[in-house]
């Protein structure tokens, strides 16, 4: 068993209006950052977990995202996985980034 850290990012789907992002975008414009075209807010979460291997950790985190961390009606998620050694020390485990598009598969 190894310890992993999954860094999960949840974003509203592109088709969903993001009023927080819009407000921040306006603020940036008013501060003179005229080049800002769009701001989208999201949520980031760190999930620290123990798993047998990378595949298992990836599968578990994916399942967490699909069932709890992300609502596929309005959000999408992506995550990266790293090996956690002692405390905060981490090693990236290659390119394990996962992306899943939200689907409206629940009625």
């Amino acid at each position: 068993m190894s310890n992993y850290v999954a860094k999960v990012q949840v974003q509203l789907k592109a088709s969903v209006f993001d009023p927080q992002g819009h407000a921040v975008e306006q603020a940036l414009h008013s501060l003179g950052h005229g080049g800002v075209r769009r701001v989208r807010m999201g949520k980031s979460m760190e999930v620290h977990l123990e798993a047998a291997d990378e595949q298992s950790a990836t599968a578990q985190v994916r399942q967490m995202c699909e069932t709890v961390l992300c609502n596929p009606v309005m959000e999408t998620f992506s995550f990266t996985l790293e090996i956690e050694k002692n405390g905060d020390e981490v090693d990236p485990v290659g390119q394990l980034a996962e992306i899943a598009q939200g689907r409206q598969n629940r009625t």
Binding site: V16, P19, Q20, A23, V68, V73, M74, Q104, R106, T107
Partner: protein, 250 residues
């Protein structure tokens, strides 16, 4: 008729719902703690407003995994009545019992005000006592009530008369002004406005009363006897209780 009002950690309109039901219908109501798994003894369950689990992650996202939701799911499947108000509506969408999702209001403000609603469909047990097109006054109190679903789902909801009520003055950016939706079978209804806060003239409106009266009328006109009832209606009794246009059995 037996009513249940679910109480989650963070619910705060549970007492309002209990008082509305008892005062409008005269029935007794049980407050059911979120850890209770079995709701088989109830005809109707209300998921009240509030901030279950502090709205952490997303509103309703954690409450949907509590044990009581399994009981709610069973009631929905069995054709019993499930009413979600405000946070209860959010929980029902998170649980997949109703389509769509409720997002942060488009103007980012919390809105607490009387709101005119138009009744779009009276085919369900929740709105049977209203006329289609009727305008009713019901208060809202939410910061995350912007109804969202993809275009295909919205078209389906409208086409199948599953939009129960819509806003005449959209307070939150809800798509198609949707304030409340029904499931396909018509026995699960969720809405952001609070009918339980509009049941007496001194509240500013008593237009919400008929939601509870409609539910009561529906349940009490059902010819089916509940499992566990000691007195089983004879065939003769049953024909008397069935009104014209009603179907037997399911």
């Amino acid at each position: 008729m037996k009513w249940a009002v679910v109480v989650f950690p963070g619910s705060n309109c549970d007492e309002d719902a209990v008082l509305a039901v008892t005062q409008v219908t005269g029935d007794s109501v049980d407050k059911v703690w979120y850890t209770q798994r079995d709701l088989s003894g109830y005809d109707a369950v209300i998921l009240p407003g509030g901030f279950s689990y502090g709205d952490y992650l997303r509103s309703g996202a954690i409450a949907r995994f509590s044990p009581v939701l399994a009981g709610v799911q069973e009631m929905a499947t069995a054709g019993k009545l499930v009413l979600g108000i405000c946070n209860g509506f959010q929980v029902l969408t998170e649980a997949g019992l109703l389509p769509g999702a409720l997002l942060r209001n488009d103007h980012l403000q919390f809105r607490c005000e009387m709101t005119p609603l138009e009744v779009m469909s009276n085919a369900s047990p929740f709105l049977a006592d209203y006329k289609i097109g009727e305008v009713i006054q019901v208060p809202i109190a939410h910061g995350e009530g912007r109804y969202y679903a993809d275009e295909q789902t919205l078209d389906q909801l409208v086409a199948s008369n599953r939009v129960g009520v819509r806003y005449l003055r959209n307070p939150n950016g809800s798509l198609r002004n949707i304030a409340g939706v029904l499931n396909e079978a018509g026995n699960v209804f969720g809405l952001m406005p609070h009918p339980e806060r509009a049941v007496a003239d001194w509240m500013g409106s008593s237009d919400g009363r008929r939601v509870f009266l409609s539910m009561k009328r529906f349940v009490e006109s059902q010819p089916v006897t509940r499992k566990g009832d000691e007195k089983v209606a004879s065939l003769g009794d049953r024909t008397q209780t069935v009104e014209v246009g009603q179907s037997h059995g399911n």
